[in-house]
Subunit: 338 residues, 2 copies
DNA sequence: TTGTAAGCGTTATCAC
DNA sequence: GTGATAACGCTTACAA
């Protein structure tokens, strides 16, 4: 398969410079005559030439791509973040390598970082903690990395303040007058996701700081799925003294909880109040009160940060950016019956 | 930056063979002594060695990655398909390059195929027709390609039978006794998506073939979004003689339509019947009758086909695989009032 | 079946 | 500011 592709040599020859200069000009290095840059760029443009990432990488340059490591692809939060990531990378002409790690509780399916590091210029890690066995070596490798939805000392990150968002959401239920509030979280025990742990803390802090008379909260688990949310709500309703209001850690679980309530002949908002978390497209239509988080922005911001780290690894700072959330109140949360 | 990475030379030396043999052994070529293969593989394993994709590509080998070109990332259908794609590719130790093309009506954001072809071993194209300007050159390039959700002469593809699925869904409404049936499609005019055009045909065929007394169908457009579905339903209700049943081309639009009906004080299923298309997780909870399509399977199948084409380009056949759909009837579709 | 050696297309080093 | 030229790590004729 003879390669008919044109190479940097062709460009160099056509522009009347050496390949070395052509290479520099194409990368717009600073120690090149602006006139030369212009000429080379023009030729490249004319021939519709782009450097071979493989050759560039091999010679010690960039790969022109970054890897996003995510536990899931199709869940609402993750696909939303990835969408934002993609938009920014595309503009920067950087390729996106998608790696689905699968549930962190299960065996990881991610190839070792040191292998990947040869293929990409940097890493975007969604929700997974960098010390996770799935990410073995990420912290040691000096590869530019940005965390999304979690944080880690010395590593730049983009997230929301899950703890205070959860506290506010729960507080909203307490303010309405509810005294038996429950929670639907992802999974029992210590969650592998920092965000989930933070939301748990926020919920507990709100309950602990509330007026006297608030009973110990019931907690159920829905694994962040619709069906799981339904099961969890059923579990809560099976309690001797079920909560009149429930903080649910994701909108999708909240939708499932709504279904459970309906199956029990209960009316959302009247019999049991619900507050979700996410800002899912269907939240308005299902009248779900929820904490809206800017998923696409989160992804876009993280991607921009990563690109910055890649071009300027000197920036020793590791900012931890926190984006804003907003509690949007709808009919699913109302004062208790009595 | 001295590379501390171990190379094929190290492996070759350690195994007592030449780099050429090591290269062959690592790829398990057939003209290598099985004993040699075993020995080399063992050494590679021990040193945790993997070939450099960049070097391999440069030397004429595989890149070990494929590109998925998709209009959207976060919409239900696409994220579901991608999820299936990813699962298969991961097992095959093949990387996934994600390229979001954006809406085909708008200006394309995809880098020219001939550039991409240097970075990947093959293409997976979701929903976009290969003659789309966004995909300029894909058909000419001899790169292995598999289409998803569309088809094209001479190119292998994986899809469902959108036309007959739509016809069956519409027929279901007619069988219930509805005589004024409408449709909510994506966009007016000729859709850039073959699937949408096929669903339109299916709907029209059902209506055309129905008993006398069925009026000319009303059609509205919802751009495949929840909000769009709501707007479209409102448009249908504004007609002098609104339909009593509507075939909606996607579940998300159907959810929006439900919301519109509710806003008008109408009851889904009693006042107006609805049939969606997709099999969205929330369809059961919203009692939506819908055509369920196996999105993850579609992606997985396509990925497997592509991997096959890559390893064996000889397979001159271009199969057009059709996966099965299923009409799941729920409370949103019932006989008309009268 | 295995070895030798010539690239693959770029970047980095070191002169000029 | 620019030009030679040696890598970079691998695959693949061609030989043996």
């Amino acid at each position: 398969m003879k390669s008919l592709a044109i190479t940097i040599r062709d460009i160099a020859r056509e522009a009347g410079v050496s390949t070395a200069t052509a290479s520099r000009a194409l990368r717009r290095l600073h120690n090149v005559d602006p006139a030369t840059i212009a000429r080379v760029q023009a030729v490249a443009e004319r021939y519709d030439y782009v450097v071979s990432a493989a050759a560039s990488r091999l010679a010690g340059g960039r790969t022109g791509s970054v890897a996003a490591i995510t536990p899931y692809i199709s869940r609402w939060y993750f696909s939303g973040v990835l969408s934002g990531v993609e938009r920014v990378l595309q503009q920067a002409e950087t390729d996106l390598l998608l790696l689905a790690a699968g549930d962190p509780d299960r065996v990881s399916r991610i190839p070792p970082i040191r292998h990947l590091a040869r293929r990409v210029d940097g890493f975007l890690v969604l929700s997974l903690d960098p010390d996770s066995s799935a990410l073995g070596g990420l912290l040691e490798s000096e590869a530019p990395t940005v965390l999304v939805g979690t944080k880690w000392p010395g590593v730049p990150s983009v997230r929301i303040d899950d703890e205070s968002a959860a506290r506010l959401a729960t507080q909203h239920l307490l303010n309405l007058g509810h005294r038996r509030v429950g929670m639907i979280a992802g999974r029992p025990g210590r969650s592998p996701f920092l965000a989930e742990r933070a939301r748990k803390r926020g919920f507990e802090a709100a309950v602990a700081g509330s007026l006297a008379g608030v009973g110990p909260p019931e907690v159920a688990y829905g694994d962040f799925t619709v069906d799981g949310g339904e099961t969890a709500m059923n579990a809560l309703l099976a309690q001797p003294d079920p909560p009149t209001a429930v903080f649910v850690m994701s909108d999708e679980m909240a939708f499932g909880a709504m279904r459970a309530l309906r199956m029990h002949g209960l009316v959302v908002g009247s019999d049991v109040s619900l507050v979700g978390f996410d800002g899912h497209e269907l939240a308005p239509m299902l009248e779900l009160t929820t904490v809206v988080q800017p998923v696409a922005d989160i992804g876009a911001t993280a991607a921009r940060m990563l690109l910055g780290r890649i071009t300027d690894p000197g920036g020793a700072e590791s900012p931890e950016i926190e984006l804003q959330t907003q509690l949007v109140v709808r009919a699913s949360s109302r004062p208790p019956r009595d």
